[in-house]
């Protein structure tokens, strides 16, 4: 897996490139694209080739997402196996991450046995894991009670939390409750006033030089409204974060890698470990995308986030699963 050809740098946004990258769209303007096995992947932002040589820095962690344990249909009737492959790939990394984050949809149907299976597989990495829920994890009869009882014991409100490691401030935001019914609105996710008030207090008084990592399940910008791929009140959350020199927003939900840069804030959606979804608007509806059996692994992956120094933005490396 350490083969450089299999590793793509996907967004070491240096602050000095702010002007160039301002207003860069998610479609990838300003990003160097490469083709790896037919799948377009970013090689890095223009001018950041040096970052591709990033070595282990002060903090390295790994993001996994959308393991959907309990899914049983094409293109992946066995997401437990592919989650296991992702964990094996993490264990084989030459620079071991300090911990893992899972950005939601651990389970497919919010069932205890699905979380049991996921926990069992992920446990073999021998790392601390920070979870946030996806909407598939709060689909129990108690509207999220099962998830919060199991994973949210030390969290605030409906599961949100923050913590600090190596000078980096991590914030786990929950945008899978408080959906707006789509009768008169777009039916997007929201964070809600309670959580936003907590966020404002959480970051108040912190030095602007503190690097920030935000974890969320749904994208924190509207990628595709027709499929509900956005968070209606994300702008208010970002208004509290823009003063920081480096803000890295990591999310799942859409099962494909898309980036966007807005000033000091970089947004990165992650690959799933279970199945891909179509690119926005390229199919009548979202949902599992069928791919040839031999191609599945190219669409799945794990992401390494590497802070070379605690002052700059991290280097992100998206690695497809190795079959």
């Amino acid at each position: 897996m350490a083969d450089r050809d299999q590793r793509e740098l996907s967004g070491a946004a240096g602050i000095n490139r702010r002007g160039l990258l301002k207003c860069m769209g998610w479609a990838g303007t300003g990003v160097v694209w490469s083709l790896a096995g037919g799948v377009p992947r970013t090689l890095g932002l223009i001018g950041s080739a040096a970052a591709a040589e990033a070595t282990q820095g002060e903090l390295t962690f790994v993001q996994i997402s959308d393991s959907h344990i309990g899914f049983h249909l094409p293109p992946n009737p066995n997401p437990t196996a592919t989650l296991g492959e992702a964990i094996a790939q993490i264990k084989a990394m030459p620079s071991q991450p300090a911990f893992l984050v899972h950005t939601g949809d651990i389970s497919h149907l919010s069932k205890e046995e699905q979380w049991d299976t996921a926990d069992q597989v992920i446990k073999s990495a021998n790392k601390q894991v920070f979870f946030i829920p996806g909407e598939h994890d709060v689909a129990d009869a108690g509207n999220g009670k099962a998830y919060l009882d199991r994973y949210g014991k030390n969290a605030q409100g409906k599961g949100w939390y923050s913590f600090d490691v190596a000078g980096v401030h991590f914030i786990g935001l929950i945008n899978v409750f408080n959906f707006q019914p789509g009768f008169k609105s777009a039916g997007l996710a929201t964070l809600g006033d309670h959580q936003l008030e907590w966020l404002e207090k959480d970051v108040a008084g912190r030095s602007a030089s503190t690097p920030i990592v935000v974890l969320a399940h749904l994208p924190m910008w509207t990628i595709y409204q027709q499929w509900g791929w956005g968070t209606a009140d994300a702008g208010r959350a970002l208004s509290y974060l823009r003063r920081f020199g480096s803000v890295t927003v990591l999310n799942g939900h859409i099962h494909q890698i898309i980036q966007k840069v807005e000033g000091n804030v970089t947004f990165h959606t992650a690959a799933s470990t279970a199945f891909p979804q179509p690119a926005p608007g390229t199919a009548p509806a979202p949902g599992p995308m069928k791919v040839a059996a031999g191609e599945l692994h190219k669409y799945l992956g794990v992401r390494t986030v590497d802070y070379v120094s605690s002052k700059g933005a991290p280097a992100l490396i998206d690695s497809p699963l190795v079959a």
């Binding site: 344990i69 309990g70 899914f71 049983h72 249909l73 094409p74 009737p77 066995n78 997401p79 437990t80 497919h108 149907l109 919010s110 069932k111 046995e113 699905q114 049991d116 299976t117 909407e135 598939h136 689909a139 129990d140 009869a141 509207n143 959906f179 707006q180 019914p181 789509g182 009768f183 777009a186 039916g187 997007l188 027709q226 499929w227 509900g228 009548p284 509806a285 979202p286 949902g287 599992p288």
Partner: protein, 134 residues
């Protein structure tokens, strides 16, 4: 392996459903007069309507029924959907591919519902007093 337990769980649910239907038939057969039981069965057939969930949409999106009608939603998508009434009057479990959920609307009114997982999926059931649905 959860992926192998899932189909078994679903077979169990189908078994339970058949069991429930069987029990209902037995109860109906126990009612006085076979003719009345047959009439009741005919009413049930006339008052059962299915809404398809396909391609992340409800079909039909708006449904007008008579009070007392049982509506069954059938998930034909490979993605999970979960029904939730906006007034919290009913909600389904998470419906996997080919799972279904039924709710009987006893009281006239307009019932808005969404998929709680994909809240841009919306539908309405308009319930008229019995006998005035069409």
């Amino acid at each position: 392996m959860s992926t192998t337990t899932s189909p078994i769980a679903r077979r169990t649910r189908i078994g339970l459903l058949i069991g429930t239907l069987g029990a209902t038939a037995l109860l109906a057969a126990g009612l006085p007069g076979l003719g009345a039981a047959n009439q009741a069965a005919a009413d049930v057939a006339a008052r059962a309507i299915t809404i398809k969930i396909a391609s992340f949409a409800f079909a039909p999106k708006d449904l007008t029924i008579a009070a007392g009608t049982t509506v069954t939603w059938e998930n034909q998508d490979e993605e999970v959907h979960r029904l939730a009434a906006v007034d919290n009057g009913f909600s389904s479990p998470a419906l996997d591919n080919s799972d279904s959920y039924s709710h009987t609307f006893a009281t006239p009114g307009v019932y808005k519902y969404i998929c709680s997982i994909h809240p841009y999926m919306v539908g309405r059931v308009i319930v008229k007093p019995a006998g005035k649905s069409s």
